[in-house]
Structures are given as C-alpha cells and as structure tokens.
Symmetry: C2
Subunit: 344 residues, 2 copies
C-alpha cells in the first residue's frame, strides 16, 4: 500500500484544530504556548496513531538547519579513519544527525571543492582533517560562525576547536621503548611535511634519541611522491646505507611499503630488526612477527569530536563553546620491538 505521507495539515484537518496548534504540540511547546492538556493529548495521540514523521526538508528550510554534519578525512578507506567513521556514525545517528563522510586526499583543492559544495547545501557543522594549505578556508568557516572541529592535525595560528593526540609524546615514549630494548641504531622513516602531526612525531623521535645520546637517522620521503616504486627504492637504499637495527615508521602507509621492501629485499632482517609503526591495524597483530604499534584512542577521539561539535551546535555564537583537546596514544607492544622474544 503506497501510504502517502502525512503532513501537519492532515493532522490539523482531522482534529479540527489549526496547523499552528499541531506544530506547537509536536514541538513540545504546548505548555509554553498554553495549549490545553486536552488538545495536547489529542494531537499527540493522533500523531502517534498515524505514525506521523515531520518532513525534514521543510523543517530545514524553515529553520535553516539541515541536521547534517560533514566529516572530511584524508581517505575514508584508511583503517584509522574508517574505524573512526564507524564510531562517529553511531553517535551522530543517535543524536538525530546524519553524517556525510568524504575524503580530501590531503589535497587543498579537493578540500576546497568539498567545503564549497557543502556550504551550498547548508550543512550544520564540519569535522575536518585539514589538508596542509586549507587554513584560509577553515578560518572563513570559523569567522562565519559555522561550527568546525579539526582533528589529527590543526593550525596553531587560527582559533579553532580541535581534537588531536600528543604525537611527540607518543613517539618519544615508543622510541624510548626501542632504546630500552637495547636497539642502538634506530631509524625514523617519515614524510616530508610541515603538518603539525608529522612535525610532532619527528620531534618526539629526535628528542628521544638526544635524550639517549643516540644518533638520529631520519628519512623524509617527499610527500608529493605518488610513485610507490620510487618510495620503495628510497626506503631500500636507506636501509642498505645506514646500519640500522630498528625502524620507526611514522605512518601506516610507510609501514606497509617498508614491510614490503623488507620482505622483498631483506627477508632475513624481518626477524632481527626492531619495528614500530604509527597507527595500529588489525592485521599487525597477526603479522610475523606481530608489529608493535602506536595506537590512537579511537573511541575517545570519536566521542570527543562529537560532543564538541554537538555542543557548538547548541551554543549560540555569542557564547561559543571552546574545546581544544590533546589526548594520549598508547603503545601496543608486540614482538617486533623485542630482540629476544620469539619472533614467529
């Protein structure tokens, strides 16, 4: 049966009251607008009986609020982001919001396109992993009083809310863990990037090396290098050149390439070298050897992001909600960072 949808008008007509009354009642303003108990009940009952659901489009048009939150990440198919998406999704639906996920591929142009796209579509709020040069556009959103929360990285120069983790502390601690396990020549493979999270990670590594009077071996892969073979070549040469006994990979992406290089070119090293990766992945647990990983607190990040965004939406722009949160990552110790433990 193709039950055409009921409108407020239908209810009003059926009960012989005005549309206004129905609207007041359904919006819980019966008291405030002094609608009688009797009428209130009548409306409520009837609405329930026909299973009335308001037309959200009309509601949005009138109120200017779409109940849509955009979550823009670097790549939704990335383990970290997709796990987080799953968490955010649950919270949002629970609160009556829809979430639009999109990927900016860490490119400014794409970020800009997406932001513009969504501004046209009166999205209510933005949760963004910003690409490097998108500062200006973020600042504009903020100055237009549109709720924005950044995460994973941020721009120190602009006043925004953000949820990040203490990257340098996390890497420092993890590096120290390698040192404690008597690795001496610890390499750090990262991406050449001035984004806050990458700089912090490198800083954490360098500080740990300095604190232990160890030599620093940093390989910065050009971040614009899309050719995986080129990257593999770089890593291969790097491993060959330095006499490393451990490697810290600053991103999951690099870990994957790095492990591939090791498997292809230095298979004997896989059980000798200390290995730590930034960002965990289910599969690292079952690797041979299981890979030690710096793991971000996904649940916590997701919750923090959503409560922030929801509070920003609730608070008027004259008393903005301020929240700049720095969470801690944890180190999941697995065999790959212990020289003695059985490696298989």
């Amino acid at each position: 049966m193709k039950n055409k949808r009921h409108s407020i008008k239908d209810i009003a007509a059926a009960l012989n009251v005005s549309v206004t009354t129905v609207s007041f009642v359904l919006n819980g303003k019966a008291r405030e607008k002094r609608i009688s108990e009797e009428v209130t009940k009548k409306v409520l009952d009837y609405a329930k009986s026909i299973n009335y659901k308001p037309n959200q489009l009309a509601q949005s048009l009138r109120t200017g609020r779409s109940k849509i939150i955009v979550v823009m990440v670097e790549d939704i198919s990335n383990y970290f982001f997709s796990k987080l998406a799953r968490i955010i999704e649950d919270i949002a639906y629970d609160k009556g919001y829809k979430v639009l996920f999109c990927s900016n591929e860490n490119k400014d142009e794409r970020s800009r396109d997406l932001i513009n796209l969504f501004r046209e579509r009166q999205v209510d709020a933005y949760v963004i992993v910003p690409s490097p040069g998108i500062q200006q556009d973020i600042a504009e959103l903020v100055s237009d009083d549109i709720p924005v929360v950044l995460f994973d990285r941020y721009f120190p120069e602009i006043e925004t809310n953000y949820v990040i983790i203490d990257n340098s502390e996390a890497v420092h601690k993890a590096s120290q863990h390698l040192v404690d396990n008597s690795y001496k020549n610890i390499g750090f493979i990262t991406i050449s990037s001035s984004q806050t999270q990458m700089e912090a990670r490198q800083r954490g590594y360098r500080e740990a090396m300095q604190a232990n009077n160890l030599k620093e071996f940093v390989l910065e892969v050009p971040f614009y290098e899309k050719n995986i073979e080129k990257v593999k070549e770089l890593i291969k040469e790097y491993i060959a050149a330095q006499g490393l006994d451990a490697i810290f990979f600053a991103t999951n992406y690099l870990t994957q390439i790095g492990l591939e290089v090791i498997r292809e070119s230095y298979p004997e090293k896989i059980n000798e070298m200390g290995i730590i990766t930034f960002d965990d992945n289910d599969l690292f647990k079952i690797y041979f050897p299981p890979i030690t990983a710096v793991s971000q607190p996904l649940e916590e990040i997701g919750e923090e992001l959503m409560t922030t965004v929801l509070k920003m939406l609730k608070n008027a722009s004259d008393k903005p909600y301020k929240n700049q949160k720095i969470l801690s990552a944890s180190l999941i110790e697995r065999n790959s960072s212990f020289p003695n433990k059985s490696r298989a």
Copy 2:
C-alpha cells in the same frame, strides 16, 4: 565578510524581471519557455557574477528530491566496504549527489531502523548490503518505487536490481588452484549462514573438491558467535583434528582469526600450509608469506552500482531500469598457495 546568500528573488529584483523568469533561465528552460535571448543572457551573467547557488533544501522541498543516496553496508570500517565507499563517493559527488554511508552490522533490526530513518528524510535511493532477514523491508521499498540496488548478496525471491560477483565460480577456481598446486586435504572455514554469497562460496568449494575426488572438510563457525576466543578455539580444534595441508577462509574476518590461531598455536605450519582468503587486503601482500586472495573488482562494482542507481533515478517508474549484474572476481596468486615457492 559575512555575505548573506543570494536567492532567486534577489536576482529577480536586481534585474527587474520575475522570479519565474529567473527560475526558468537557471533551469535551462529558457528556450522551451521562450525567454528571449537577451533576458536569458542577462540573468545568466548576473547569476554568475554574484556566484549564485540555489538553496538545495528549497529545491528539494519543492521537487521532492533530496539528491542524497544512502549506501548501507555491513561495516564501513571493513576493508572491502571502505575501499568501495571511496569509489562510490567520487562518482556520486561528480554527479551532484551526496552519499550517506551507514553500517547495519548485518543485523536486521539495525537495518530496519536505518531504512526507516532515511525514509523519513526523503532520501532518493538506496544501495544496500542486506542483512539476512530484511527481505520484507526491501520488498516494500521496491513496491513503493524507491530505487534500490543490492550488492554483495541478494534475495532471489524478490525482484530487485543487484550487483554481485560470481562467488561460487570464484571459489571453485581458487580451490582448483590449490588442487593444481598438489594440496590434497583442503579445508574450508566459513560461517554458518544461508545468505546467498556464503552459500555460493561453499558450493564453489564443494564442487571443486568433488570434481577432483577430494574429501571435503568444512568448518562452519556459528554466525552469531561474537566471542572471538570461542571462534579461535573452534578453528584451533579443527586444524588439529583434520590432517589439512591447506585452508580456504571464506571471509576476511575468518582469515584474520585463522592466521592468529596459526601464529599462536601452529607457527611451524604457516610456511607449509596452503592458504587462500576471500577478499584481499593491502596487508596480505606484505604478509609472511604473502597471502593468496580472491579479489573482488572494486572499481567495477562501484561503477556498476552507481550507474544502476543513477539510471533508476532518471527513469520514470513506468519504465523501470532493470539491471542484475554478476561480475567476476579474480585470484591474486601469492606465495601462500604454492608449496614450493620460497615462503618468506
């Protein structure tokens, strides 16, 4: 500068024409509605000069179309689905559609909740990976003339469009590959489920065994078993009991658990046993040994899904677009299914 948004009315006022005229011109109906070249150009130019963008909410309210497509998968944080999401996202934005991703966890109740949620929000179309008992609700969508495309699995009993892969053929071929590599006792670990894709996979395996006169060893893990330890136990016993020289894992999830079991309990076997998994994952490539995988054609699936949905949206309900597509998966041969190849 907080540039308040322009409306059609603003344009009309500025140019001294009617709102109607502006609307016609902007919708490309100038010709059809015989608006003069002169006025048409004037409107177009002005609209461009102020960078006019229509209010989509108002548009949607009037036309009844929201330009939103829902993509409901089992779990958006699953590798296969998140990769696919990334592909769908691109196509959709390109065509002016937004995509709402959501996860039903393969549970009927959650599926139903989500479908109801979205029906209230006048979503235009649905791309769904259906949970086992959601048949009725899907049938309702279809009978209400709402575009739906199923994928990954489908319901043979109801007339829907779908995009699936030939699971039985894919598994048959992959099993044959094991046989060709002289494995004799090939186990098949799957989930107890009557969903089309799982039945087809098991069928493929059984047919291959029969064709080669080999014994069938199937382990069906109860699909409702959420306790991972229990599942590990089952797999562990299974491996101990049968004298297997190869295992075919019917889902990625089982592969991960299975590899964990092997690592923990039978580490010596990892380099002896033939292993094949259904659904690839970037990390299988760098595993020790690299894992042979049945790989679904993600791009193709994504494109097929989107063209189907877009065509359904375009075609009127009196001449519905019909598309039931069965694609082929490919076998990515890696070391884990070759007894002779170096395994590291």
